[in-house]
């Protein structure tokens, strides 16, 4: 199986060809694209006049105004730019869990590759950052088909291991992104809601659009264990010996509460969040998500 086919399901690709991921807010880009850009430049849609300052392109002078008023004004237009997207992929140890449907990280990597394929096909710029306690690998957003190969190469070289700090990674990403972009966070979000909010707030403050894709294993949602088990933390936490039948109630209560708090934070920050259980085929999960964005 080629690297591409490992992370990109042909069936999914076929379905994605009929869908697109569009930013809901104005984003900044380098090339002309489908998305409105806050950068004013050459375009058919006039926006305003501005007094000429040294350094402006002389070609953008409105010679008619200059001839009538003898003052140099520059014409500004609303420019349509391409989408800059950064996919933040959680590469921490907790993403390695997967009992029946494979590791969460594999699912998340496929999700990232699919999104990259989708957006690169729309002539967007896509970057990929893998984070643990901070961003450890960063692939700057670029366009072109070669970027997909670079993304897949990066995914191929990455294993889920070590501790994670989502908030730190989000701060890091915010600092790296110079212009507004679409930030897609793919993680299990096993972090405190407060820290999650801090990171997300940073991105929102920088006027990035953020999409959170939460990847979870069904075991983490339902905690179906029955026999005495010794739970060994994948991120170095102390082992915990317990009878699942008796711990289950407390676990589920905590999980639900955490879920609600995360959702509450996202809602407050106008962040779209979507859960992706690994036992749900990505074709269905991602397709449903993209259709919902198009319909919105």
């Amino acid at each position: 199986m080629s690297l591409v086919s490992r992370y990109l399901d042909p069936l999914l690709i076929e379905r994605l060809n009929f869908l697109q991921l569009s930013a809901r807010r104005v984003v900044s880009g380098n090339t002309v694209g489908q998305h409105k850009s806050p950068v004013k430049g050459a375009s058919v849609e006039f926006r305003q006049h501005r007094f000429y300052v040294p350094g402006d392109d002389p070609r953008r002078l409105d010679w008619r105004i200059f001839g009538r008023t003898d003052r140099p004004y520059v014409k500004e237009y609303d420019e349509e730019t391409n989408l800059r997207c950064l996919i933040l992929l959680d590469g921490s140890g907790s993403m390695a869990y997967g009992r029946k449907s494979g590791a969460k990280f594999d699912y998340a990597a496929s999700l990232a590759a699919s999104l990259g394929y989708l957006m690169l096909g729309q002539t967007e710029s896509v970057g990929l950052a893998v984070f643990r306690k901070r961003i450890e690998t960063y692939l700057a957003p670029r366009g072109g088909t070669a970027q997909l190969a670079r993304m897949i190469d990066l995914l191929e070289r990455t294993n889920a291991r070590g501790e994670s700090s989502l908030a730190t990674a989000l701060h890091d990403a915010g600092n790296r992104l110079e212009r507004r972009a679409l930030v897609i966070v793919i993680s299990d979000l096993f972090t405190s809601p407060e820290r999650f909010r801090e990171g997300m707030a940073h991105l929102k403050h920088d006027r990035h659009e953020v999409i959170v894709m939460r990847v979870l294993d069904r075991d983490e949602i339902e905690f179906p264990f029955r026999r005495w088990s010794r739970f060994q933390g994948l991120e170095g936490e102390d082992a915990q010996l317990c009878e699942p039948a008796l711990a289950r109630k407390t676990y589920l209560e905590r999980f639900q509460k955490h879920q609600q708090e995360i959702e509450g934070q996202c809602h407050a920050l106008h962040i779209e969040m979507q859960a992706f259980p690994t036992d749900v085929p990505m074709v269905d999960g991602l397709g449903r998500f993209l259709r919902s964005r198009q319909g919105a």
């Binding site: 294993d217 088990s229 933390g233």
Partner: protein, 721 residues
């Protein structure tokens, strides 16, 4: 509480299964690499942990209780208490063990103990049992452990069996009875099994109920689906008063007509009260009649035995029975004791005198003749003594004698040696007093069965003389010494050194340790070998006061060999066969045996022929008393009287101590019912009434199961949600 199916109680162990599984699962946890540890961290805090553990153990206890209750229910528990309705346990199989040993004949405040036991049985039978129940009656004290138990399925029929039971003179053995009861109950199909033991309070009956019996009992019980209930109904009082004639013993053998002999009668008072001036009667029974020989009053101290010496004289030779009877409290069978003896018309001694001296009292034969055959006018210790020269006697002459004395006989011929050996084997007595004429090499060669090898005589070297230093005082020969340690003042200057042979017994020694007297049993006869002559040449023995009683006692002792054997055979304990030997061939059709219960069936005895002798073997003696075996139909001089005696242990009426009762109740689960005051039936009903509890147990199992299910769902959550 009891269980009708106690084997199911083994299922109680299933109560441990939940605990075992819990611990097993806990010890066999699996490892899971888990990402969402933040939701598990401290999921069981101390408080929660304690609560969780409490719930866990609660669930475990519930599950264990369910299984244990199920096992108990299957074991069919029955709770017993007064006032409860009878348990619906179906038919009953019961073994009634009735003690009819000799002690049950004791008169207890005007009632015989066996009658009291019978009444107790009747109280148990009605209304405790019904038609269709399996009932067995086994008796204790039969003397025959293989006696067949009588079966009835009707209490009325069983009551009839019980009425027919009579007292025996046997010995009760509760342990054997209980074993027999278990064997009977193994065959029973009735679900309810019971054993009733009706006995007196005699401790001896329980002598074999010990730790070994307990182990055997438990092993036998394991063959039953559930243990039978064991009821003991002791009858009679704790009164242990019983005066018995324990033993009769003639102090001297052989018994000869018209010669007075002392009879030792041992009496024992088992009671705690001394008895004064009780009449002791001694009777002599011949095959033709009975006469009172002596009557005298005796005093009996409490809980002690005394021996009364009664002189009697036998008037008729042949088989005689000495009867001693004491007029005192106790069972009839034990107030009276018989002892069968053989009385000789006379007894003859042949003295072969080898001494060369011709004067009076020159040889040992003179002293011996005077000692063992005093003038008839004395009427005491009379033997008919014949003295012959060594060359003047032949083997034929020995037929008429009971004792042969070789006094300083130089040697014997081969024929004489063979005749002497046959004589001794056949029961004759031989006494040898070698002297200066004796050729020891001839004795050693032709009489090799002598007790010791003789060597050439030697003189005592130190001071020229020695003395008889010690004798075996416990031996019957030396009974006349009454235990005196210094037997004889006789000075011995010369004697025969000897070397004892295997099977011989040294009865006396000189001061220097050399043997003075040997004894050996050869066949039915006895041999005495002295190492000094009976004359006064080498010692002054015949001149001392020791010689006369010694010579008489020694001669009587060797003469009584076969008589002692016959006394043992003629006085047998109940249950042992009667063996009557006759020196002639017998026709079995002419043999007649009569006992206390009349003439014995011809099929109950057997006659065996051994050459010219015969033996009658009779095993049908079921009751103690006197049995006469007549070889020629009618009572005649050949008729032999046998005494069948009660076991001595039955005489001891010591009661079963309280701590032993407690031990029985604890180890054997004995339920003791006191029949006094008419409470027997009520007690039986109380023990047997009750309610079966299997249904409540089942209900409790269902309720606990529901509780367990709901508790599991509540505490553990829905696993498949």
């Amino acid at each position: 509480m009891s269980f009708l199916n106690p084997i199911m109680l083994a299922g109680l162990a299933a109560g441990l299964v939940p605990l075992f599984l819990h611990l097993l699962n806990r010890s066999r946890y699996r490892n899971i690499d888990w990402g969402a540890m933040m939701f598990l961290d401290g999921v069981e805090p101390r408080r929660h942990l304690n609560s969780t553990r409490l719930k866990q153990w609660g669930l475990l206890a519930l599950r264990s209780m369910i299984l244990a209750l199920l096992a108990v229910g299957l074991a069919r528990p029955v709770i017993h208490a007064r006032g409860l309705p009878p348990a619906s346990v179906g038919r009953t199989a019961a073994v009634l063990l009735l003690d009819r040993s000799a002690s049950m004949a004791l008169n207890d405040n005007g009632r015989v103990r066996l009658d009291l036991a019978r009444e107790a049985v009747f109280q148990i039978l009605s209304p405790g049992f019904h038609r269709g129940d399996d009932l067995w009656l086994a008796t204790l004290g039969d003397g025959n452990p293989n006696a067949i138990a009588r079966y009835a399925s009707d209490p009325q029929e069983m009551a009839r069996f019980v009425r027919e039971v009579t007292v025996t003179s046997g010995e009760a053995d509760v342990a054997a009875g209980l074993r027999k009861a278990i064997e009977l109950l193994i065959r029973a199909e009735a679900p309810n099994r019971e054993i009733y033991l009706f006995c007196d309070r005699q401790s001896d009956s329980w002598r074999n109920v010990n730790e070994a019996f307990l182990r055997d009992w438990q092993q036998r019980l394991s063959r039953l689906p559930h243990a039978p209930r064991l009821f003991v109904v002791p009858v009679g009082s704790d009164d242990t008063d019983n005066v018995v004639v324990e033993a009769i013993e003639p102090l001297r053998q052989p018994l000869v007509t018209e010669q007075p002999v002392d009879i030792a009668v041992r009496l024992r008072n088992h009671g705690t009260v001394p008895r004064a001036a009780k009449q002791l009667t001694v009777e002599i029974r011949t095959v033709n009649g009975t006469r009172v020989a002596r009557q005298l009053p005796v005093n009996l101290p409490a809980d002690q035995a005394i021996t009364v010496i009664v002189p009697v004289t036998f008037t008729q030779s042949g088989s005689n029975v000495i009867t001693a009877r004491i007029d005192a409290p106790g069972t009839l069978a034990e107030n009276e004791l018989h002892y069968s003896v053989e009385v000789l018309k006379d007894f003859k001694a042949l003295i072969v005198d080898g001494d060369e001296g011709e004067g009076a009292f020159q040889g040992g034969a003179d002293f011996l003749k005077l000692a063992i055959g005093p003038p008839p006018v004395s009427k005491r210790n009379t033997a008919i003594v014949t003295v012959v020269r060594p060359d003047a006697w032949g083997p034929v002459d020995l037929r008429d004698y009971r004792v042969l004395v070789l006094a300083n006989v130089p040697s014997v011929t081969d024929t004489q040696a063979e005749a002497i050996q046959r004589f001794v084997y056949g029961g004759g007595g031989l006494m040898i007093a070698p002297g200066d004429q004796t050729r020891v090499e001839n004795y050693n060669q032709l009489l090799p069965w002598l007790p010791a090898t003789l060597y050439a005589p030697i003189a005592e070297s130190a001071d020229g003389s020695t003395k008889i230093g010690s004798v075996e005082l416990s031996h019957p020969i030396f009974r006349f010494l009454d235990g005196r340690a210094d037997p004889s003042p006789a000075v011995v200057r010369r004697y025969f050194p000897t070397k004892p042979k295997v099977g011989s017994l040294t009865l006396g020694s000189y001061l220097n340790g050399r043997p003075f007297l040997f004894e050996r049993i050869l066949g039915r006869g006895r041999i005495l070998l002295m190492t000094i002559p009976a004359d006064a040449d080498w010692s002054i023995l015949p001149l001392t006061h020791f010689f006369l009683p010694f010579a008489q006692s020694a001669v009587r002792y060797v003469a009584a060999g076969p008589l002692v054997d016959s006394a043992i055979k003629r006085n047998v304990v109940l249950g042992r066969p009667i063996l009557a030997d006759f020196d002639e061939p017998l026709d079995a059709r002419n043999v007649v045996i009569t006992g206390p219960q009349g003439r014995a069936e011809a099929s109950s005895f057997a006659v065996s022929q051994f050459g010219i002798t015969s033996q009658v073997r009779y095993t049908g003696a079921q009751v103690p008393g006197i049995y006469k075996v007549s070889p020629h139909k009618d009572i005649d001089a050949q008729t032999v009287q046998f005494v069948v005696r009660t076991p001595a242990a039955e005489s001891d009426l010591s009661v079963f101590p309280r701590e032993r009762w407690q031990w029985l109740e604890r180890e054997l689960s004995v339920e003791r019912i006191d029949p006094q005051g008419g409470r027997l039936a009520a007690s039986q009903e109380a023990f047997r009434s009750g309610i079966e509890l299997w249904l409540p147990c089942l209900g409790a199992v269902i309720v606990l199961s529901v509780v367990e299910l709901s508790a599991t769902r509540r505490w553990a959550g829905r696993l498949h949600e």
